[in-house]
Amino acid sequence: MSMIGELFRSLFKKRATVLYPEERDRVHLPEGFRGKLEYYEEKCIGCSLCFQVCPSLAIEMVPEDKARFPKNQAGRRPIFNIARCTYCGQCEDICPTKAIHLTDQYEVIALDKRDLMVK
């Protein structure tokens, strides 16, 4: 019987639920949110530190010819399999040249796994 006050007060309060598809703008994310990552090829130096530190084998090093990017003389660069990524952000921390940044995009949907590859 003791919650009766709270019950009737909440009859007139605005509902707590955020109806996701309609009220998408009410969902506000903090700026440090770890969502889908984006990769800046020009900054990358091909040191493959991100490959070593990724706990879920989401990063794979592929050969890359040296001419395309002056900074990357190591002849290889990472590609990211977002399907395996757990958004832990270890690669963003370890990257010496800030080439990887986790955006605040949380709606990661794809019909085909191959679209989830960040080149």
């Binding site: 019987m1 919650m3 009766i4 019950l7 009737f8 909440s10 009859l11 309060k13 509902r15 707590a16 639920t17 109806l19």
Partner: protein, 324 residues
């Protein structure tokens, strides 16, 4: 009986205050109950189907009808198929007793107040058979609990109805409604009977705090665990119609049924409006009770009924007796 009176009567039975109207009223009541329950918990409740989820109960009903109807082996075939039909038939017949569009129900005879309460007991028995017919452990425990609960709340329920019958001096619902023309029963000391009736109705409908026969956390779905498809649809519809019946019965016994100030030409419409508004008020009380309490254990339910409901009902019975 002349032919067109016959047609009018069947139409009345089938369409207006009869099955079709009761069917949609039951679905509306379920929507109202779920929406108010959600609003009390600061939630939204059904939202997407129809205007603010109005068609959600109908959608559930149709979905269940289209679902596969599994009959587990080792089940008592006769009981397994008959109990849903029996429960639905009983609750629809009970709904016919209620005076909706006029001061007397579709089926009105002397003594139908007592018959309506007996139907409630029959409904509990069909729940018991529904549980027993499937040899599922959870269903057996659910059925056993529904009977234990029946022992608890049945006598107070009877006493509160008998109290009203004594106060009104007539055994038929129309008589009770007529006696409340000037003074509703709820205003008199019958209000104790109203409180007992509300708790007993909550137990009859197996809603929290008395929802032991289908306690989701302990015995998953209790007695209706093995019913799927059409059978489950019938059980849920029967449960909703029973909800309409109980709220209507409370409105008739204590709140003066369809009576109220009416404009000259449209008395019938006003009767229906009054009936629905009053039973919605009783439904609101039932929903608030559902949101307020935690579920009691089976021994506590029987204890609560014998220690609180029964003395209250007896006291109300004595007071009414003295007042006469």
């Amino acid at each position: 009986m002349s032919f067109e009176q016959y047609v009018v009567e069947t139409l009345e039975a089938i369409v207006f205050p009869g099955f079709i109207f009761i069917f949609f009223l039951a679905l509306f009541y379920e929507w109202f109950d779920r929406k108010l329950y959600a609003r009390l918990q600061n939630r939204v409740g059904p939202y997407y189907t129809g205007f603010h989820g109005l068609l959600q109960p109908l959608a559930d009903f149709i979905k269940l009808l289209s679902k596969e109807d599994i009959v587990p082996d080792g089940v008592d075939q006769l009981l397994f198929t008959m109990t849903p039909l029996f429960t639905l038939a009983l609750s629809v017949f009970a709904a016919f007793l209620l005076p909706i569009s006029s001061t007397q129900g579709l089926v009105s005879f002397d003594g139908d107040a007592i018959v309506s309460v007996i139907i409630l007991t029959f409904l509990c028995i069909t729940v018991f058979y529904a549980g027993i017919s499937t040899y599922n452990r959870y269903a057996i425990i659910g059925a056993e609990r529904s009977f234990l609960q029946l022992i608890g709340y049945e006598i107070p329920l009877m006493l509160s109805v008998v109290g009203v019958v004594l106060g009104a001096g007539s055994l038929s619902l129309s008589g009770i409604v007529a006696s409340q023309a000037g003074w509703w029963h709820i205003a008199s000391p019958q209000i104790l009977g109203f409180i007992v009736f509300v708790f007993a109705a909550q137990a009859e409908l197996e809603r929290i705090p008395f929802d032991l026969p289908e306690a989701e956390q302990e015995i998953i779905a209790g007695w209706n665990i093995d019913y799927t498809g059409r059978r489950l649809a019938m059980f849920r519809l029967a449960r909703n119609i029973e909800l309409v019946f109980l709220c209507g019965l409370a409105a008739t016994l204590f709140l003066g049924g369809p009576l109220g100030p009416t404009v000259e030409g449209y008395t019938q419409i006003f009767y229906v409006v009054y009936f629905v508004v009053k039973s919605l008020f009783v439904l609101a009380i039932l929903t608030v009770v559902r949101a307020l309490f935690a579920r009691l254990r089976i021994d506590q339910v029987v204890g609560f009924s014998w220690r609180y409901l029964l003395p209250l009902a007896i006291f109300q019975f004595i007071v009414v007796r003295l007042m006469l």
